[in-house]
Assembly symmetry: C4
Homo-oligomer: 279 residues x 4
């Protein structure tokens, strides 16, 4: 009811644009920001391709500067408009935003600071905030709930997979010679996970008959074990899907007057003739 100070008002407005997405301008801000994040990630990708970097180095650098300046402005605006700037600066997204912004600045002082550019890919996670705007929200949260509900089961599952890999890997290390690529137990465990998950690069592969026999067991185990997370998540989805619509059971009790069946369990009168139902 009271009048707000102009400055606060202006900061509120900025906060609404940057942090919220319910107003048209807030939506547009999010979409433009996301487009810039995608561009920034593509820039990092292109710079890593030697032929492209050799040809268009200056163009890429210019684009990189434009993106960096926009990110800088955005970062400062976020700090200004929020009430607790420190809390934002130390939050997950705050740190990512900061690291995504600085590499170009510090590249003049530290060689190899471009490693930090990798962090920029994490900004893509912001899409989940933008998705909130549209109909994907329900779907995403249903996915999230299903995964959350089966978290413990999945933990037990992953632990079992790891333990199995350690046992099988150690076994294979003693069986297979170094020539097949099983040069150490960690490498053998790496092979076991590659095989259990049915990825199968083939850079390490058993050569002895006994090694191939054990590999066969690992493969069939991996092929079968995949059923477990699938079963967990599916049954969770089915449960959530079933629980979504209110369930009202219709029983097979017949009306004493008109013999109609299929009343609701809590019905006291026949839906067809209106006479009282006698269990």
């Amino acid at each position: 009811m009271r009048e707000l100070k102009p400055s606060t008002n202006w900061r509120n407005k900025l906060h609404e644009i940057i942090y919220e997405a319910d107003t048209p301008i807030g939506k547009w801000f999010d979409i433009v920001l996301f487009a810039l994040i995608i561009i920034s990630v593509i820039l990092v990708m292109l710079e890593s391709v030697q032929e492209i970097d050799a040809k268009y180095h200056n163009t890429l650098l210019a684009c990189e500067w434009v993106v960096t300046i926009f990110f800088t402005i955005e970062y400062i605006a976020r700090l200004i408009s929020i009430k607790k700037p420190l809390k934002y600066a130390l939050s997950f997204y705050g740190i990512i935003d900061f690291i995504s912004t600085i590499p170009l600045y510090i590249s003049y002082f530290f060689v190899g600071s471009q490693v930090l550019l990798a962090v920029r890919a994490l900004r893509l996670l912001r899409i989940f905030r933008i998705l909130k705007l549209v109909q994907f929200l329900g779907e995403a949260s249903q996915l999230k709930n299903a995964l959350k509900a089966s978290r413990n089961k999945i933990a037990v599952f992953i632990y079992t997979v790891l333990i199995l890999s350690v046992i099988m890997g150690t076994l294979m290390y003693w069986i297979e010679s170094d020539a097949s690529g099983f040069t150490s137990i960690p490498r053998a465990i790496y092979w076991a996970i590659v095989t259990l998950t049915t990825v199968g690069y083939g850079d390490i592969a058993p050569q002895t008959p006994i090694g191939q026999l054990i590999a066969t067991i690992v493969m069939i185990l991996g092929y079968g074990i995949i059923a477990v997370p699938t079963g967990i998540v599916t049954s969770e989805f089915t449960k959530q899907g079933a629980g979504a619509k209110p369930k009202i059971h219709l029983n097979t009790q017949a009306c004493t007057s008109c013999s109609k069946e299929g009343h609701r369990d809590d019905a006291t009168h026949c839906y067809n003739c209106g006479s009282k139902l006698h269990g």
Copy 2:
């Protein structure tokens, strides 16, 4: 009731044969057409095998001409018999039909026009129209419905997979040297997708211990993530399968006497107070 002009009548007849599949002759047309499409695709395949092309070049060319002439006649017949030829010509199937027909004609003018032959494979999609004739219809549409219903969930899922690939790929690019095949970020992302989907070619594979550790995480993630689309589609199928048994809908109409909701669609009296319902 009125007599149609002979020419229209003749065009109607042609339309019935080509575009419909309810008459015996329409069925036969579809089956013959599909056989010819399969032959045309096999011809393109055989031509691409150098040894076969070297030996039987002329035979293959002759067969190609026969197929092309049939396709030309079919295309012209389709244009003549339909009321809005332009609409057909610009439709998805119309464009595919046109591109499937012309390569041989324009091969005398443009070198490399045989690239267009690849489009011919798309004509195989016509099978789904022929399948309509037989009992597969129900099955195909059930598949389609299940996929349609879970479209949004699958979109969220694919986006998550892509984002994960970008993050993991970028990370691996900085960790692994060029010697392992991680020569650029796009290639590293390609590796991440190859690994996440458990395809695992092995042309690019991590060599450093830390790279193999991260690869291991990507594999287990991919191994587990596959549970999500499976869970989505399965729960959708189960729902649809459950819906196969007679569904009785409860509507939201309120009783005029007692305001109770949730009557059966075919109810004539309130299940609660027995008064007549006024639908």
Copy 3:
């Protein structure tokens, strides 16, 4: 009631032993036969390993003769004891039994007749007859029913996978050069199936950026498409599992005398106090 001729009686006895498995001796015959089939398959395997064949050629040949003689006796006994020998001889199992028996005999006349030994592996399918004896029957038939019920859906699915492979393979043939292994369209289609099914040998792998991009799409498609057969079979299993035990619904209606809930839908009296239930 009438006395049977001794010869018929003897043939009946033999028939019972060979074709049935309800008597103890019939069971034993089946188990011994299956053990011999496994031995015969292992013999074929060992002969194919050059080092073993070089060392133990004579021992293996002797064993092979023992198995062959037993199989010959068994085959003749089957022909004698059955009423319609021709029907058996031309049946699926009859032909397999015959082909499994003859290779050693005709190896003196035809070089390369050992190819027929491969057929012997098919005799392993007899296990499903022996399994009938034990508790596996129910499980196997449940598996069979689930697969049978989803046959049509699986056919649509496999056709879609094949069509997709043809389209993607043809596309990749034009994009990728011969150097990557895409030397002909059939080979490119082979690659597409290897990738779609997430097998990923890596003997053929795209090298160009655009080829890798399309490969990525094929992988994600394959990764997602696997959800479809899984969904089909799972929903079929769930249906069968649900239908297996007689379902009696308990409703939430409370007894008017003692307020107990959870009566059977068809209950007319309270299970707790015995007073009449009023819907």
Copy 4:
């Protein structure tokens, strides 16, 4: 009520600490033991990496001795505190504990005794006992129940996969030449399992067109067959999930008055005639 002898009392106390996990000290013992097991497994891993072993051999050996001495004390304590030491010594865990302890001792007498260190990885299975302490118990046992219930179906499934591999492997051995890696039937069967399970190393891969065609069939089979274990486990999970809501069993006891069956286990009166039930 009677006083226990001090020695027994002391042994009871030790038994409680080592074998039970309900007391705080018992929990701590389990956690410390598990940490030591993990360290012992990591030690074995590090020793197998040549570069690390070359540098830190003495440090690793010292750590190995510390772990071995703790394991020795633990093993003796287990033998002393239990009432039937022989039964423990010959149990699954007893043998693993013994083999995990001795390698260092006997390494002075037998070269290559370090092979026994591989057994140490099996001690990691103790985690499942520790997990009992926490909330994972329910999850783990639910996983176990689901797998147990579908044991027979999974056995039929694995047998089918093996039989298919033998048939397909034998077939491929005759089709493909040695150059592709199909040097013997066992190797061809190994290839078949690698392909069926979609692992796909690529060390053995078909080169002839007909071999690639059959490989394609194996791949699509493998791609589809994975739906079966998934379907089995999922339907089992779904069933158990459904069973989570209060289960009320209907028994087969017949009413003495009206002979109706199917009463609730806790029913005291017949739901049909209302007469008292005599359980």
